[in-house]
Symmetry: C2
Subunit: 390 residues, 2 copies
């Protein structure tokens, strides 16, 4: 068991209609001026934005807004959002949406008191010690950014996805109404399911001396997601299934499943390279392609853990541990397929992947080893895994 | 799934030697004056108190102290602690110990800005909206008070244990070093194990429409405790087992296992009556006697949930659901016995329990029904359960 600090700062307001209390909730924190950030289309069309603004007006909270958040949020929009927050003297940036809107809001908020460019923060040129708080109205269960301390943005010139972790990144509050996710398409729902599973799986497969309580929490989350997933896909307005997915997405990424364990996210790093180069690739879909390939490469080096995963999560019970471990991975792959996920780079829309470029990017020209506690993810390993995804 | 708010305010510092950073940790929160509250003996004898004071001195934090916390903390000591905190102009009350020291600290802290008696708060005559913050250095894994929003004290004149829940009760920080629990006796360790299991079990058996993620978290905690318990008893300095118990005790009572569910604690209420009347009864031991009896009375009204408990937690797999449910309860009872817990009121040192008094106290003379969602815990039910414990 590793020493750790744990601090979940985000206050969660969960349930039907909670978004209509946004103004009242923000007032609780003594905040009077906000800038709203959201994505394209649905937040406006569904009337959600209007309802939120009405709720703010009701308690006299001043607000301005900026839309346009897209998957794999770009730094340009963050700069615009930061400018607006300063002009408006905002006391909070309120993101309505999923990971993209939230992550842009986080970086703009963390940059508020920094004189230089927001990119200085993910590039480690500046470490912020204060920032504006953020708040979230969640509309898709996926990224878990609503309770996490991390944020990721894309720098389009160099095709680089960069992230940074900071306690500043934990939102002040997250308003979660599962009904808001009823209209999320089956494909987007599936991508979200992969995303939240992956936040859990990557933490789970960081080896621990023994089965930690954190690993049991991870198994709980994975089983709950896999039970709720087909229900939510078949019946998009099933409140309980949507609720389970929403809670699972947040708790998968808020630190619960890495209590007492080291954290690393090698497959996320591999995927960020892919969706940095091919920005039209949704993060979750990229993960669905890469993760089984990563497992099939690595399971031989940690048969016990992969076998435990097969037994406790995938309900596979063959006698031979190694065979069982492999069958568990294949069953997970079939589960991803059942969600309609692509299983190859070709199916992801990348028939001719530039694997050498990706390996170079991941390993920084061969100079960086993306750590794995069992076997280092070096140039050769990366190449083998990317190549096996074609 | 029920609507809910969730806010875990307590910052956790977990690991070997963390208590030596107490001063530095408190400084992080901008606090310069503290009153320390602790129990009898071991905190002083072990040198822990001295080490903490040295750590405070090192960063110039002013401190005063009051010892004497006992199991089932009494209101007199709370009044004394409150007085000291005011005299010393404390900015934080630091509890060193377990539930007793922490709960006294919580009530004194919540009373700080109240002109009347601290008892006004648990008796609902005064609802505090601000108080002093509290901090914790945990020395026993049991009560879970270090992250919870609840506190319980005893009013010796009327032999009443009264509690109150408030966000104010959540400590500002909890310093947890499992090594500090190495010297906890096997009996006290066992009592703590029952206590943390009971915080989980009571929430688990509040019926839910379906298996909630919260219930899966509960199962995870219970399994982890039952795995770590015999190790910690056989090998008191097993760091991993002590770590698991410490984390389990906190997470069992911090709200994780009641996300989206109603909360009620009927067996805690039954036990508070017992240890109110017989203050020498340790809370955990009382629970070990009462809970199996409560289960054996109630399982027929919710066979599905008790059967699930038998399968998922106790690993009992008989074909007949009702028989399986019963066998799961009996296996839990055997587990409590294996910890050295008493299984009857007689074994608890109460050979002639005043059952009518207890029933009257619990039901307020028959006027109050301690709710159970399946079958009300009324006078008759209470009498049957208490009587079956003799």
């Amino acid at each position: 068991m590793k020493s750790f600090e744990f601090h979940l700062k985000t206050k969660v307001f969960f349930g039907k209609g909670e978004e209509n209390r946004t103004g009242e909730i923000i007032k609780q924190f003594g905040i009077n001026r906000v800038v709203i950030h959201y994505g394209l289309g649905s937040v406006v069309k569904s009337g959600l934005l209007d309802r939120v603004k009405k709720s703010l007006d009701k308690v006299g909270i001043h607000h301005a807004e900026l839309g346009g958040a897209k998957p794999n949020p770009e730094i340009g929009l963050v700069r615009e959002l930061l400018q607006l927050a300063r002009t408006e003297k905002a006391e909070l940036i309120l993101a309505i949406g999923g990971g993209s809107a939230i992550d842009s809001a986080k970086l703009a908020a963390a940059s508020y008191y920094h004189d230089g460019d927001p990119l200085d923060i993910p590039y480690r040129k500046h470490k912020p010690t204060k920032g504006l708080p953020t708040g979230v109205i969640l509309t898709i269960a996926a990224a878990g950014s609503e309770m996490s301390n991390s944020a990721v943005v894309t720098e389009p010139d160099t095709k680089t996805k960069v992230g940074f972790n900071s306690p500043l990144n934990q939102p002040l509050f997250a308003i979660m109404n599962p009904e808001l996710t009823y209209t999320v398409s089956p494909y987007q729902t599936a991508i979200g399911i992969v995303d939240m599973m992956m936040h859990t799986l990557e933490r789970y497969f960081v080896p621990s001396d023994k089965l930690e309580l954190a690993d049991r929490f991870a198994e709980s989350i994975l089983k709950a997601i896999m039970e709720a997933a087909p229900v939510a896909l078949a019946q998009p307005d099933d409140y309980d299934a949507r609720s389970t997915l929403m809670i699972a997405s947040s708790w998968a990424h808020n630190g619960l499943t890495s209590i007492g364990k080291p954290v690393q996210m090698p497959v996320h790093m591999m995927e960020h390279v892919v969706s940095g180069l091919y920005p039209e690739v949704p993060h979750g879909a990229g993960l669905a392609v890469l993760f089984p390939a990563w497992c099939l490469f690595y399971y031989q080096y940690d048969v016990a853990k992969f076998n435990q995963f097969a037994r406790n999560v995938m309900d596979v019970h063959l006698n031979d541990p190694k065979e069982n471990a492999r069958e568990g991975i294949l069953k997970l792959k079939r589960f991803f397929a059942s969600l309609g996920m692509p299983l190859t780079l070709t199916a992801l829309g990348i028939p001719n992947p530039d694997i050498d470029w990706m390996v170079d990017k991941l390993t920084n020209g061969g100079t960086r080893v993306v750590d794995h506690f069992v076997k280092p993810l070096d140039r050769e390993a990366a190449k083998a895994i990317y190549a096996s995804c074609r």
